[in-house]
Amino acid sequence: MSKSKPTIFLDPALDRTSIATDETISRDQLAVWYRTMRLARACDQKLAALYRQGKIVGAVYLAIGQEAICTGVVSLLNRDDYFSTVARGLAGWFLRGVEPKHVMARWLGRDVPPAHGRELGLFFADIQQYGIAPYHNGSMASWIPSGAGFALAFKIRKQPRVYIAFTGDGATSPGDFYEGLNFAAIHKLPLVVVVENNCFAYSTTIEKQMPVENVADRAPAFNIPSEIAFGNDIFEVRRVAKRAIDYARAGNGPYLVEFKTFRVRGHGEHDDMGYVSADLREFWEKRDPLRLYAEYLSGAGGLDEAEVKAIDDECVQTVEDAVAWAEAQPEASPDSVTDRLFAP
């Protein structure tokens, strides 16, 4: 394995600056996915502005540049499948029906379910309404063991359901990554680990995180299949993720998919990204997932540019309305602070 090639640029075999699909997908469906990704982008751009204005306190973490992965993967799931992701998978939440106004209200610390002000907008779980499973952030590997637990329940009950753990390159170093995948592989549990390799764990490069070139190179330790794909192409995401999901659902055990992508903004908006080279930014700017998808839509996708622009404008307006709604919501009452510690 060569260490000379920096992993920050793509393997030529994965590299592309335009995208296409062999699937037959209706214009309406194509537009739904585009709207989902665009809504996440618009939401994130607004969150960055609110953070700079001091309206969001603490920190804010954006998904810009990674929208195609969660959109593509969640588009393949059945309603009773579960997934877990932090807000880097914001578009995945939206595709499941989570409302932008609630996302905004959570970032603003307002009294909306399910957290009622107890948790950052970064984290979200609601099984009953959205099938988004609860997790915690010891590290982003923490929900690989718990994901194996959801998958264990599916297997014991003989249900053909899958659990998707969206995580990142940095999360493949903590022990939970090994312990969770090891357990899942032993019991052939329907767990799909989707690694969004976005080049950095906060500021730390892949070379300083792991002695292998790809996260997927770790999979042989578990005797499970793995694939590496270009994560900014929603169609490639769907092609690869479908193989993984079908494999897991059929009872063959876990599957690891590594999507190469790029975190366009910092770890959080407090991060000046001084560690990212201009070359790298420029390389990935030409491969922005929304740009690639918009170009496909207004070409082979059969939408004209005005239609794409109309979706863009609609998303911006949706976000403005969401912020207005969220700002009008009350903060949680201090009297509620000790509520709901234990379940009845």
Binding site: A125, P134, Y135, H136, P145, G149
Partner: protein, 324 residues
Amino acid sequence: MAVITYLEAISQALRDEMRRDENVILLGEDIAVFGGAFKVTVGFLDEFGEDRVIDTPISESGFTGAACGAAVEGLRPVVEFQFADFIACAFDQIVNYAAKNYYRWGIPMPVVFRGPAGGGFRGGPYHSQNPEAWFTHVPGLKVVQPSTPYDAKGLLIAAIRDNNPVIYFEHKHLYRRIKEDVPDEDYVVPIGVADVKREGTDLTVVTYGAMVHKSLAVAERLSREGAECEVVDLRSLSPLDRDTFLASVRKTSRALVVHEAQLTGGFGGEVAAIIAQEAFDVLDAPVTRVAALDIPSPFAASLEDAMLPTEEKIYTAAKNVLEY
């Protein structure tokens, strides 16, 4: 009714709950084929099958996280840590996932973590610890430790039926030494309710786990000398039944707090602080603690015996409080 050991009571609670509710599953190291390091689950694999009695790899964080996820999905996993000491490897999943899940999302997580705890076996630093105070500091966890077979069975059934994460510390020293009549049918000892194991008028001893028995022995000795101790067995540390020991202290005006875990930062400090604050007006002597020395659990008998609380240490401390 039948006379059974503390260990048999734990085993019976697990078996009865697994027969009653197919959602109850067990995970742990060597619990299936081998029946557990202490043989609590002998025969379970044959009766319940490998889907419900799962031998795990040596990866506490992994199987703890898996149990938590399965619990959210409606199973009721009971995790066995082979020794309570090993719970350290699962700390993050317990304190950051299990403990906080309901507060964050309102999603229940009915999972039980069993930890064989305690010293006196020459187990050395990693097979002797009493880690309860690591967890009583964490809101969202329930922490219990039974001292008798009756309580062991009833508290474990209560833990399994509880919709929250419960850490159940069972003292290894009691496994085969303590026997009593226990009802054959199922019953619950409610979590969060202390029990007065001996009534008395002169001194309140607040304790739990194996120290209940040492405290009762000291109480008999003091009784022969003319002082009557009331021994309060906390049974649950979180949530804590303050009312029972405060009522006792209001009666006796003197309090001794005894546990096997190390003194500093130990749970006894919390009990002592509550008594000092809530019952200051009735106290005739300083609230006093007896606990292990502030060192790791040493291996050699001479050292471990010097480290752990003994009946002699409890007796001396009790005399000091009585004669203050």
